[in-house]
Symmetry: C2
Subunit: 352 residues, 2 copies
Amino acid sequence: MRLTGPIEIIGTGLLGTSVGLACRRAGFEVLLTDVAAEHVRTASGLGAGRPRRPEDDPQLVVVCVPPALLGDVIANALAASDAVVTDVGSVKSAPLAALGEDVATGRYVGGHPMAGSERSGPLAASASLFDGRPWAVTPGAFARPEAIELVEELAVLCGGVPVRMTPEEHDSAVARISHVPHLMAALMAARLAHAPTDHLALSGQGVRDVTRVAAGDPALYGQIVAGNAPAVVALLGEVREQLDVLIEAVGSADRSRLEELLGEGVEGTRAIPAKHGGPITPMRSVFVSVPDHPGELARLFADAGESGVNVEDVRIDHDPGRPVGLVELVVAADSADHLLTSLESREWVTHR
Amino acid sequence: MRLTGPIEIIGTGLLGTSVGLACRRAGFEVLLTDVAAEHVRTASGLGAGRPRRPEDDPQLVVVCVPPALLGDVIANALAASDAVVTDVGSVKSAPLAALGEDVATGRYVGGHPMAGSERSGPLAASASLFDGRPWAVTPGAFARPEAIELVEELAVLCGGVPVRMTPEEHDSAVARISHVPHLMAALMAARLAHAPTDHLALSGQGVRDVTRVAAGDPALYGQIVAGNAPAVVALLGEVREQLDVLIEAVGSADRSRLEELLGEGVEGTRAIPAKHGGPITPMRSVFVSVPDHPGELARLFADAGESGVNVEDVRIDHDPGRPVGLVELVVAADSADHLLTSLESREWVTHR
């Protein structure tokens, strides 16, 4: 089956409106539905499609509602027409299980684009939100091959990279690379909430990085985590076991056990694939002091650009108490010396 | 007492050599000591000072040796001369306790600059490593006022911002804002070490941030954590208690308890002071798609600079599988719209 449209979007928040914009960009007819009429007006005003009319006959329905509502809305969509139905929810087993073994489940194929924003609502949407992001496609046992194809075609036309896996695999994967990391960040961040101010004054980039995701909306993440409870609890159990080993190792001054645990952490950081998804290139950081006013970063990047070295990542660590920032430029290891020499020749203060 | 020098540095690794470079920059005579003669040669070759001679008479000794050796080296330095002695170790109670109540402890004042690098050794050193960083100064009960002044003067001449606290306060603070975050990152990262490759393919920026610091050297962090065991174990105990509450909340689908725990995490992320150390300015992120080749980031920052908006922080999220990166520019909330409009008028693809 080829995707020809129309494509119906149920739920015109950040993700739904972004899918609509991407489908419109690709020339498809897009029909918008939302319990909040003003969201439909906003999304259609942005060019994400037009309000759905009763006589419309979608080929594909994309359910983009909050996690707790997924099961019901998917079931209703399957009952309402013969369209293929997918969703963009962050857990995949529970909504599928809720459908039971109805023959209609052959038309349902779950999806989960790995994209988002700390903002929400249609105004935060973008046709390019999914550009290059992994988009999990998670057919259940009864899913029809042509329904799977249609959903993978949607992922591709939105700019995503389809990654096919079972719903169970998906939920176990996101527990590990998203839900449990979020909970660990929250557990850590909570320990800072009532710390003395002058203790927190010593904070550096490390604790900021470890806790950053914990700033996410508790209601949304609560729904996400609750919807993936079995996989999350299993992994948290592993964490608890290892935490006990860690407490014992630190408390008994067992340095070799402690180093072993820290070594497993190092191994884990190396297991995360390179951002490009391609082969892992060894990287090195170049540190540069940059005055903290408009134009200085521009000048730094212009000078770095002149050197012909591609900057792969950037971190800025502002100095508390003075208007100078330390900028970390991550570049291919074999380009680092060239970049350093080049920046130094342009009067930048670098830190080798 | 005014700092007039000479200043002796014992241990010419990253930190010792950087202190030497900063003191030389300020015009002081610097004497270098290290068990590894080639480190002294390298450090003096870099301009961090000259090898110490037996007849030298330092005014201030800065001990920059690995954590496990601190106590002994500090005691020897106090016994060897009448100089004031400080150190740059990351734990402060244990070395002081090791000294006992000797009158000489009046000449010892602990220090801890909050600076470092993922690299080590004298070649990674820089006179500006400490620029604007907090530098904890931790006098014990017997420390003489003039010794404290001298150590604070050292912190300032190295570019640091002295933060005075007791050794116990310091150790409790770094357990919270450094050691335990590191251990939590390591615990989380270890869960990724043997995960299936296609699960890890779904990794985004969140899990990368949460685990980044866990890439640090296990031997070094093992020493640091072991030296601060009481404070670390106390805080890990709190984490364990809350982890149990969390497992119970997720396992029993207690959404309100779960949201409460996540809410404490949000509160904690807000407790970390603004990077400038000044009043917290509300920030907003602007997302821009940037082709991944040399010069494009330069063009983006040049265009952002033209808008007159100061970029406070940057994150780059490369798209797996395609040569486009999503760049997040963090700016003052009230400048975000102006920056977006300005970038869009220069043909950048932004994500509102």
